[in-house]
């Protein structure tokens, strides 16, 4: 009994691949390196899918047309993207939700505190772990074999052809119990980026001018299981690479968050309501440049570039109740000098920074729901919106550190998701998810696009692997071809 498709990884892209391959008639096995309770990689921390739509759909209001989605992506990536793959993922997002619903995913309107995404993002009811649970249930029901605690760090390849994977079966505590060689006719790798591998992050980020290793102060927002061992192995075996190892989805999160799996609740949402100073008690960037949801993804890198890779988000009593409540208590003080003292910052510098900012605030009409006219004049960096003087006790401070969501270094691919060696596509080795997201995301991030990419290329990779394993004739159109041709019959509405 030989296996058709081996899927390495256990998150959204991997399960999407497994389900597609199984639906195409292939026998499928999923190897998840995590134990069952930690299954799903970073997908369990996700909450939505950025979705193109030309008219209101069940949980999505108004329209978010392809062109607008593409322009948003172009803007955040600064052009570091593959337009064809990007448009494929975008168009796929228009079609894929009925399929997701069929496998048990349920959608809900935007969450409170995230209403700005009501037009662009379809939220999973219960979040990403509920989605992952649904996919595993569906996969089990369809007869997909699932192995937990099964780590793969080596493949048998012959001239770019996949032969087998060497699997380490581990105990719950992580010790290797036995190794196994699993062969299959085709393989999908969807085992995540290398964000959890701190030595690798340290190597990638190197040393800064102050002699610090910035990655020493990074926190990982997601799973500890994305060690990138398979990615490293493929790169060593000569697979074509995409992306820069320092590029990642990075946000500023509470410095007291756990090293791994802090997830969404560790974010600090009050940046635009106050100021942010670094360890030297100096401001370093326009806190009110744009709406926070459009800016949160640049603050991880901004903080990473500061000494000690730490920042302090400072607000006053006026901000209470205007931002998502933080999980960790803020440092509270009745005066600004007292706050600086409690934070261990130089009080004089801190007061100079705050006084300069407060004096620079031009009175205006504060409105956090629009790009208002409250701005600073004559201070560098400027704060261009929502600039109110910090003058009402008590004052609050939240320490922030860079939080890595996922890395963009990956394997170069095309619309077949085939892994390439010296620009030659492998006939039976495919890649999806974070391991190839860098093809679309050269840098930057926009909410929900990771799941858009993971779902599109996850499904495509599963279909391609099944085609390779089952010898499907070329004349049968692929999912990617159908999506790009905008086949109308894919547009079945999601039943709410």
């Amino acid at each position: 009994m030989s296996l058709d498709v081996l899927v390495i990884g256990g998150g959204n892209a991997a399960l999407s691949a497994a389900l597609m391959a199984r639906e195409a008639g292939a026998s499928v096995m999923v190897l998840e390196s995590a134990p069952r309770e930690w299954r799903g990689g970073n997908s369990m921390h996700t909450r939505n899918l950025r979705c193109m739509h030309d008219a209101p759909q069940d949980v999505l209001v108004e329209a978010y047309p392809e062109e607008e989605f593409w322009q948003d992506l172009l803007k955040v990536t600064g052009g570091l993207t593959d337009e064809h793959l990007a448009r494929l993922a975008i168009r796929h997002s228009h079609h894929c939700r009925p399929w997701m619903v069929k496998h048990g995913v349920r959608f809900q309107p935007s969450l409170s505190g995230a209403l700005h995404t009501a037009r662009t993002n379809a939220f999973f009811m219960g979040g990403g772990k509920a989605l992952i649970n649904a996919y595993y249930r569906s996969a089990e029901k369809l007869g997909v074999q699932i192995r937990y605690n099964a780590e793969v760090n080596e493949l048998e390849l012959e001239n770019g052809v996949f032969k087998a994977a060497l699997v380490k079966h581990k105990s719950a505590s992580g010790e290797v119990l036995r190794t196994e060689r699993i062969s299959a006719k085709a393989c999908v790798m969807a085992a995540g980026g290398f964000e959890s591998n701190i030595p690798w992050l340290k190597e990638a980020w190197g040393q800064n001018a102050q002699g610090e290793f910035p990655a020493d102060n990074f926190l990982i927002r997601g799973t500890k299981f994305n060690q990138g061992v398979l990615l490293k192995h493929l790169l060593e075996r000569g697979a074509d690479q995409i992306g820069d190892p320092t590029q990642a989805h990075m946000v500023a999160i509470d410095a007291r968050a756990p090293l791994y799996d802090g997830g969404i609740c560790t974010r600090i949402d009050c940046v635009s309501l106050g100021v942010v100073v670094n360890k030297n008690a100096e401001r370093f960037y326009d806190e009110g440049e744009d709406f926070w949801p459009k800016r949160y993804a640049i603050w991880g890198r901004l903080v990473a570039q500061q000494p000690g890779q730490v920042g302090f988000s400072i607000t006053d009593a006026k901000a209470v109740g205007r931002f998502m409540p933080p999980v960790f208590e803020g440092t509270v003080a009745q005066t600004l000098p007292e706050l600086a003292q409690k934070l261990g910052l130089n009080v004089d510098t801190f007061m100079a920074t705050l006084n300069a900012y407060n004096q620079a605030c031009v009175p205006g009409h504060f409105d956090h729901t629009v790009l208002d006219d409250c701005h600073t004049e004559g201070v560098t960096p400027a704060k261009t919106h929502w600039a109110l003087p910090l003058d009402t006790a008590p004052f609050y401070a939240y320490p922030v550190k860079p939080g890595v969501t996922f890395t963009y270094l990956g394997l170069k691919t095309d619309e077949t998701t085939a892994v390439r060696f010296n620009n030659q596509a492998s006939p039976n080795l495919f890649v999806s998810g974070e391991m190839m997201a860098g093809n679309v995301l050269g840098k930057g991030y926009t909410a929900g696009v990771g799941m858009t990419i993971g779902t599109a290329f996850g499904r495509i990779s599963g279909e391609q692997a099944a085609r390779a394993a089952l010898g499907t004739p070329v004349s049968v159109p692929t999912l990617a071809q159908q999506v790009m041709q905008g086949r109308a019959d894919l547009d079945t509405p999601v039943s709410a």
Binding site: M125, K129, V320, G321, F323
Partner: protein, 393 residues
């Protein structure tokens, strides 16, 4: 701004420790602080939308939210912070623990709250005492527990226990139960009302809460696929078996009520024919109650031990078993009319019903009362404008 300042003051007052939380209440507050920064579960039920209207969780908020929670399990299985995560979020369990505590705290008279602590024992004692009492009474009036006057089918149960005697036994106990539950929930209502906007109940709010309670909306998972039982799969079985139990119970209650009206208003005495209204209501209700409780029992045994507070399982199961036995003995009694087994069955059935009535204000039954009160407050509060203005909204 006014409301925001007010909220800040309230939060500060709370932080000063003006109201002391118990250990299990602190645990709810700790967990909700994390949930409030995540909110992925907002679509499942009423608890999370209610949570997002708050920044801090005081005693009354916690009591309200704990009783709003239906213990459906959806948020546990969907939680990225559930154990083994170090945040150890298990909202159904934290809520159930506080819920158990509120039943005891709000028991009236308050000394009776202790009966919740060892509810299995309470129930067993009530049961033993009630059954013994009715057996002895039957023996006294009938001379035997096997046959005797019971063989005269015409006179039916009244040959053993005259109608007025039964009324004099059950009416005071039942009225006591209603009074005790009423006093308990009144105090609960007074405590949670200020924490839930303070606004008065309106007809639309009452209608919505009644609908949500009668339809068990929050055992539907928000998506209608149902709630969780043994694992992350959704099932409608809990909702359906609860419906069978509740509506079966209500039909039995209706049967008794109709019979009472027949007796006093029309002078029509039992026994009633098989096609009479009390009989039809009682039969359908009894069968429904038996099937429902059997289903709930099976589901309870298979339930993921992480759901809720396992220490309350004896109370849950005791209540389910009691209702099941009442329905089965009631049905058996109907079939045994005129047989020699009737006196024993009658004494057993009445003993069981008496035990139910005695423990009504101090057992699992209270969950329906307090949850309905919370649903009513939720329906009121959601109609008030939120005091918060999150920038990203």
């Amino acid at each position: 701004m006014q409301t925001l300042q007010q909220l800040t003051q309230e939060a500060t007052a709370l932080a000063r420790g003006d109201i002391v939380l118990t250990g299990s209440e602190k645990e709810v507050a700790r967990q909700l602080q994390i949930c409030n920064g995540c909110r992925y579960c907002e679509g499942f039920c009423a608890v999370f939308p209610a949570m997002t209207r708050r920044l801090e969780f005081g005693k009354a908020d916690i009591h309200y939210l704990a009783n709003l929670c239906h213990n459906c399990g959806a948020c546990l299985h969907a939680c990225q912070y559930a154990p083994p995560h170090e945040f150890a979020i298990n909202v159904p369990k934290a809520m159930a623990t506080v819920r158990g505590q509120t039943y005891a705290d709000y028991a009236w008279p308050s000394a009776m709250g202790a009966l919740y602590q060892r509810n299995g024992l309470t129930l067993s004692l009530a049961l033993a005492a009630s059954i013994t009492l009715f057996m002895l009474l039957a023996l006294q009036s009938n001379g035997t527990l096997w046959g005797g006057a019971a063989l005269n089918a015409q006179q039916g149960f009244y040959a053993i226990f005259p109608h007025n005697f039964m009324v004099s036994m059950f009416a005071p106990v039942f009225l006591w139960a209603v009074l005790a539950l009423g006093m308990g929930v009144r105090k609960f209502w007074r405590d949670v009302t200020p924490a839930t906007s303070g606004a008065a109940l309106t007809t639309p709010a009452a209608a919505e809460a009644t609908h949500d309670a009668l339809r068990l909306k929050y055992l539907g998972g928000g998506h209608g696929d149902g709630c969780n039982n043994e694992d992350d799969a959704f099932t409608l079985a809990r909702k359906r078996t609860h419906h069978l139990t509740f509506y079966g119970f209500m039909l039995c209650f209706a049967a008794t009520s109709v019979a009472t009206v027949y007796h006093y208003a029309f002078g029509w005495s039992a026994p009633y024919g098989f096609t009479s209204l009390p009989k039809i209501l009682g039969t359908v209700g009894g069968v429904s109650l038996a099937i429902g409780t059997l289903g709930l029992w099976r589901l309870n045994l298979a339930r993921d031990p992480q759901h809720g507070d396992v220490q309350q399982r004896p109370m849950d199961r005791g209540f389910i078993a009691l209702l099941f036995l009442i329905s089965v003995t009631g049905l058996a009694l109907m079939l045994a009319r005129g047989s020699a087994a009737m006196p024993s069955l009658l004494a057993l059935h009445l003993g069981l019903v008496m035990a139910l009535f005695l423990t009504l204000p101090y057992g699992k039954f209270a969950h329906g009362i307090f949850r309905t009160a919370s649903l009513l407050r939720f329906a009121v509060e959601k109609r008030q404008p939120s005091k918060l203005a999150l920038g990203s909204d």
